[in-house]
């Protein structure tokens, strides 16, 4: 993909993000932060590429360290979001 197509995706995604985030209810802003945290760890893709390919030993180890950090975030982020969201329940009896 050339730079302009990538930029187009980026700009459009910013607009999608803008409207989607405004529609998030304020009560869920903390889970929003936790889940955005988890998904921004998609940077693990870059870390995986670095650690998968031969060519530079330093790059490989940097990549592996990146994989560890991003994994903490992915598993931790989604798990903690899940834990929080599970608490937002309506009471049955009323």
């Amino acid at each position: 993909m050339d730079f302009i197509s990538i930029l187009s995706i980026f700009v459009l995604a910013c607009f999608v993000g803008y409207y989607v985030v405004w529609s998030v209810t304020p009560a869920l802003h903390t889970p929003l932060m936790a889940v955005t945290n988890a998904i921004s760890s998609v940077i693990i893709v870059g870390a995986l590429i670095a650690s998968a390919e031969a060519g530079s030993d330093i790059a490989k180890w940097l990549g592996l360290a990146g994989v560890v950090l991003a994994s903490v975030n992915i598993f931790g982020g989604f798990a903690v979001t899940e834990r929080m969201l599970a608490m937002y329940k309506k009471k049955e009896k009323k």
Binding site: G17, L32, V35, N37, I43, I44
Partner: protein, 540 residues
């Protein structure tokens, strides 16, 4: 790509000469060093991925990343209501799974075992932390997680810099004289990628060091009060300018392409970015941490987006844009809720100067104090009670006791509502999570603008651990540092109970609060949790 030929002016590197390529880009390089000079006439906007590796991007792979990106959008979309939020979270997990699986399948994995171990170690640690963390500690957890994303971005940026061919961002060897024979082949990074990586690493590093400071302040490992260096604005702007200049140097090949010069630039960018992240956050006080945490959230997104540009990966770009705008919007909401401009928050120092002026007014005004029994008696008489929780409730872990009190009151037929200010607590939505943890029905929890008109009809306003968000000075006193901030109209309530540990502290803005001294106010000076428990006992 035929027209974009390039050549080495010097007949190639001599044998035995270490790979220090003192070259420069002819296109823009102002200083062309003699020696091994690589002249690239490549269009700067050339595609990073396909051109260098020569292989076409598999449309299915691109599609998979796109699906992952769309799933991330759905994940955020789900958060528009608590009832759809868990489905949304599942979409997020699925998106991540797709992204990771696609990457692993489409690359020759030389060391899958090591990668497996890395994922396992990180994942296990993350899960344990996520399960153990107390809900009250959520702000510092989020800050800590941000720092990890930032550091990961720095690591990925560095890995890409050191091994560009793995990322498909190396200058294609056919553009170099001698093609693949050229020792530079696969080692030179395309200029446009240098910008993206430079920005990614810089933002990542700022996110990392900034989040570490935010974490230290939020968890109380470091004083929450602002630390003000002299001339800090000049220093900060200067360091930022240097970082941007260095990134420009990389792009234009000032001082040579790759080799030691580029390496030094990259090191300098990383170090300076770590420094600026640290400098940016230390002057910001504890009360402004919600803005800071949201801002760092935003930065971690932009860092991911920058790396997404480098890799030409749609999932990363979409995610980066989503997270970036999410954090930016949250910061904006927080700033609006404090009636302060984003710049004034980032400039820092809030609470330091005003603390002195607020405390200086030192005349002692009379106030009433009461006991748990008094409060219980009045609450029983009420028809409608509005509870305003604040950071003090989180500190005292009083949310469960508070819910018990609510239950008892409701059994007696008293209407109880919760009013939450956008900046209550230490991160956006902090109070909502704590109330949800104590299984308070979210239908009873209201935002500022939805409930503020109801104070006139309510019998008791029950303030627990909040302060600045009920301060009428924000409406009346133009000299007050919190003037203009939207606050709850508690003074309209017939009766106000104010739970506070002591009369000493005056909120994080450091401003005295007229509500303490109102006729209808009774101060309940005690630990919030103990006080509420005693009220529950007295109610029975």
């Amino acid at each position: 790509m035929q027209g974009t030929t390039s050549f080495l002016r010097h007949p190639g590197p001599r044998a035995g000469v270490p790979l220090s390529f003192g070259g420069a880009l002819k296109v823009a390089g102002p200083r062309i060093k003699p020696g091994v000079t690589v002249v690239l006439l490549t269009a700067f906007l050339a595609s990073p991925a396909s051109a260098s590796t020569g292989e076409a991007v598999n449309p299915w792979v691109a599609l998979a990343y796109l699906v992952a990106g769309v799933f991330f959008i759905l994940a955020l979309r789900g958060l528009s209501s608590p009832s759809t939020s868990r489905t949304g979270n599942r979409f997020g997990m699925a998106g991540m799974l797709i992204a990771v699986a696609t990457t692993l399948i489409t690359h020759d994995i030389a060391n899958i075992v090591e990668i497996g171990i890395a994922i396992f170690v990180g994942g296990a640690f993350g899960l344990v932390v996520a399960r153990r963390i107390a809900m009250t500690a959520m702000p510092e957890l989020v800050a800590a997680f941000h720092s990890l994303v930032g550091l990961a971005a720095v690591l990925v940026g560095w890995a890409a810099f050191l091994n560009p061919s793995a990322f498909g961002i190396a200058v294609p060897s056919e553009m170099l004289k001698f093609g693949a024979e050229n020792p530079l082949a696969g080692k030179l990074v395309q200029p446009i990628s240098l910008i993206e990586m430079g920005l990614g690493v810089a933002i990542g590093a700022i996110t990392f060091s900034g989040s570490v400071i935010a974490f230290a302040k939020l968890s109380g490992k470091m004083s929450g009060s602002p630390i003000l260096l002299p001339a800090r604005h000049v220093i900060n702007l200067g360091v930022l300018a240097v970082i941007l200049a260095l990134i420009a140097f990389l792009y234009f090949g000032v001082g040579g392409v790759h080799g030691d010069t580029q390496l030094h630039y990259f090191i300098a960018i990383t170090v300076l970015a770590f420094l600026i992240g640290f400098l940016l956050i230390i002057p910001i006080g504890g009360a402004d941490m919600p803005v800071v945490v949201s801002m760092l959230n935003s930065y971690s997104g932009w860092a991911a987006a920058a790396m997404g540009f480098t890799l030409g990966n749609t999932a990363m770009i979409i995610t980066g844009a989503l997270v970036g705008s999410s954090g930016a919007i949250l910061s904006y909401i927080m700033c609006r809720a404090m009636n302060r401009s984003f710049l004034s928050v980032i400039a820092g120092g809030f609470g330091a100067e005003s603390g002195a002026s607020g405390g200086g007014g030192g005349e002692q005004r009379p106030y009433k104090t009461g006991s748990a029994e008094d409060a219980a008696f009045m609450l029983e008489q009420a028809e409608k009670v509005i509870v305003i929780p604040g950071y003090g409730m989180a500190v005292a872990q009083a949310q469960h006791a508070l819910r018990e009190m609510t239950d008892v009151l409701e059994e007696k037929g008293i209407e109880v509502k919760f009013a939450i200010h956008p900046v209550a607590g230490r991160m956006p939505g902090h109070m909502n999570v704590l109330l949800a943890e104590a299984s308070v029905d979210y239908d009873k929890v209201f935002e500022l603008e939805d409930i503020n008109s109801e104070f006139a009809q309510c019998d008791v306003a029950f303030i627990i651990g909040a302060n600045d968000v009920v301060n009428p000075a924000a409406k009346t006193d133009k000299t007050s540092p919190i003037y203009g901030m939207p606050v709850f109209d508690v003074e309209k309530a017939k009766q106000v109970f104010f739970i506070k540990r002591s009369m000493g502290g005056v909120g994080y803005a450091g401003v005295d609060n007229d509500v303490f001294y109102m006729n209808q106010t009774v101060m309940l000076l005690a630990d919030a949790k103990k006080m509420v428990e005693e009220i529950v006992k007295a109610l029975d």
